[in-house]
Symmetry: C2
Subunit: 281 residues, 2 copies
């Protein structure tokens, strides 16, 4: 997905939000906004927004000196998701269609991106998503590709959500490689977060090589690229991975909740809609 | 009111919204965002946000060549408000406290700023505001100052809302000067809009000299400044005028609905709250 005009003010807004998490020093925050504001003119609109994320969040690291502003928040989200895990596992086991229920829960986990801090809200959102209609629903194709696949590449998105990915991975019943970001960026799942989430119990963890809040193939590690090319099924979680992969030419299934008008518009759906969408089917 | 950090991304967002109203040319819109983004670093935080509005909207004029992007929208809002006028006039006349009802309606008109286009929404908002509690309510002081005042300066805000100001001005029962912006800026009320709204039937219209989307005394005309100093009562409508006048040292009554978190925070209230607030009482 290319950068839309609406992404540009959003970069500045994201910079403010993240800089505030990194520091209380208003002068440092202003400096972040000064520099991110000026970066708009150097933003190539043909790049994906996730690529600009590298520069935006890089500026915050550089100016505030804080390498991982979201560290504590990620730990909390993982702990909250783990507390819900046994209950959600029971729901999956008891469901008529355990695979579909696990898909829904994995999408529900994607709301953690919004900065929802309370377990209560998470529970409410899971309940909603369990009965919400999909705006795009390529489930039949998904099952067909899954059945044929000898292995699966599952590209993670946010920390916390990662715990719910574990539930879905167990339902896939195939060897899974779970890809994480190469370094902390926003609240995206890293190797440390994946281990905290217990994903090593159900998947082989691999470093995608990505320092962006999304998957951009030309920035990915050779190991990731080989896995990506050979995978029988690729599952891409969340908006950032969609941004980077939506124009690629292999079969990919995107699982996400549309949390911004730009992504919703690109997918031709409404904000808040949930999606299981396959490309190049 | 000074500029808050949250105002900075908002400038870029406003620039996008207004540039899209002025033109369909995405390259021109991108150029507006490039330049407004870079203006963040030159924004003095001690200035009021309305002052930065001069540069932001000036850039849009300069790059798109459109001097008054909101012209048609303003005309429509005035026409919609005029269609409601007879019905609202009856409500005022029939009210237990016609002055307070007129104040409420004048505040309800302030929602037009949000870009609400449908008469239906306007009617819904008026109904809500007619029974909504004020978050700040200096009505007793307002009546006291009004009773003593030999004349009133009423500083207008948006076109459309201006029609509802007429209702309130009629209830003041004092000689009123109604101040308008010196040139088109966003959807703020100009001399042409005030005439369209029929305000010349109830007040003397004066040009504030302001080219900002608010009242900033050091940019105001000598005529306005004299009126401001001599007025027995000053009524300031809306957020933009509040931004410029909130730290001044004469008695002023602000009538507004808090439509952004920054203004709400500055007033110590919540977004969506309505206010009749006097300063230097």
């Amino acid at each position: 997905m290319k950068t839309y005009l609406d992404c540009l003010p959003c970069f500045v807004e994201q910079a403010l939000r993240a800089a505030r998490i990194a520091t209380n020093d208003d002068r440092a925050i202003k400096q972040v906004l000064d520099e991110v504001g000026c970066m708009i003119k150097d933003t190539p609109m043909e790049n994906t927004p996730a690529e600009s994320g590298i520069s935006v969040y890089g500026k915050i690291r550089e100016i505030t000196g804080v390498a991982d502003p979201y560290r504590k928040i990620k730990k909390r989200h993982i702990a909250e998701a783990k507390a819900l895990y046994p209950q959600l596992q029971k729901m999956v086991t008891a469901a008529n269609d355990p695979l579909l229920t696990a898909i829904r829960i994995a999408i529900a986990g994607n709301v953690i991106d919004l900065g929802i801090n309370k377990t209560f809200d998470l529970v409410a959102d899971i309940k909603k998503i369990l009965s919400q209609d999909f705006a795009l629903f390529d489930y039949a194709a998904f099952k067909k590709v899954l059945n044929k696949a000898e292995n699966v590449l599952y590209i993670g998105d946010n920390a916390g959500e990662s715990v719910f990915d574990k539930l879905l991975i167990k339902q896939l019943k195939k060897p899974v490689k779970y890809a994480v970001r190469s370094q902390p960026i926003i609240n995206d799942v890293t190797m440390e977060d994946a281990l905290d989430s217990g994903l090593d119990e159900v998947a082989e963890l691999i470093d995608s090589g990505s320092i962006a809040p999304g998957t951009i193939l030309r920035y990915s590690s050779p190991e990731f690229l080989e896995t990506y090319r050979r995978a029988g099924l690729v599952i891409s979680k969340g908006q950032g991975n969609y941004e980077g992969l939506s124009d690629e030419n292999r079969t990919i299934f995107f699982l996400l909740k549309a949390k911004c008008p730009v992504i919703a518009g690109d997918l031709g759906i409404k904000e808040g809609d949930i999606v299981l969408k396959g490309i190049n089917l």
